[in-house]
Symmetry: D2
Subunit: 104 residues, 4 copies
């Protein structure tokens, strides 16, 4: 995996797989909505650990249960595979943390 800047058509193709993400001012963006701060920050911690592992970090804003994310790669001033991987991980972690509570 390298930090090569992806072409417009590569990004378009990636957005086909990353259904909840969109391109905003050149960055891969998604707003996550959680039930509370605990879910939001639990999600953020798992992302933070992956970010250190990849040495690639998100731009993100947290307000209570929402986390607004913008991904791009500063070095190439564009989107790279690292952004796609981080986006995919975020989708998985968000689904996990939002798991419905058990009944009763």
């Amino acid at each position: 995996m390298d930090r090569r800047r992806l072409s417009d058509s590569e990004i378009k193709s990636a957005l086909g797989r990353l259904a909840n993400w969109e391109l905003k001012e050149g960055k891969l963006s998604r707003k996550f909505r959680f039930r509370d701060f605990n879910e939001a920050f639990g999600f953020m911690t798992r992302v933070a650990l992956v970010a250190e592992n990849l040495r690639h970090h998100p731009e993100w804003t947290n307000i209570y249960g929402t986390v607004l994310v913008h991904l791009w790669t500063h070095e190439v001033q564009g989107i790279t595979d690292y952004d796609l991987i981080l986006a995919g991980k975020m989708d998985v972690f968000a689904e996990a943390v939002k798991r419905p509570l058990p009944v009763g």
Copy 2:
């Protein structure tokens, strides 16, 4: 909710609901097994936030993907409602974080 020490029969009744927990040397204990450190520490962070909220903290040991927990209430040298609540929260967070990965 108070920090009253629960009686043996109250604890026994609680253990009926907390299926994965057992009493070990007077403490409520469970070993959680996760797939990796990311899951384990994501779980621990959610528990840490609840612990600060309740002002009641676990004794726990983490080795990579396992988290061994002992709960009791130091002030009363026994089990209280705080331990039952923390145990219940841990069960919910552990189920959420271990959610199966999406296929494909």
Copy 3:
């Protein structure tokens, strides 16, 4: 401590003590700069624990080593003592995490 909306003069007085904070669009704001993501997220985790303890949460944006914070109290649409307390804690945690590395 209550969630009473502070008056303009009370806020002005508080800003005298919180030297690095300013009022921006009605919110108490500060930009923290750390050396790396590790410092920034270590700081954020300590703040998150206090936030759960106070049941009062920040609005914040993190980009690698910077954390931009806006504090206000949604319920009263203004600044309260909770915001002042959270700001003071953030100052302490930021100073601690940025402590110079030992020489050699």
Copy 4:
């Protein structure tokens, strides 16, 4: 840096530099004492981020403000450079988080 098992004399030499660590049952061990859970878990989060970056994780037990750490490298059943690096980082993070509170 490799995961080569260090010799007894290499470990002895390293312990000369890591003044607060000792060898216990073949593992590099230290007990950290913090003022409260917030400090302890803030410390743990910074260590967790480094652990993911190094892909090398501690064995650790947390009880409120104490964190008892054992470091070794499972693959070689001994101490490696990874353990020394993690120990050094822990010392730096612990010093930072325990920084005295400002007067007044």
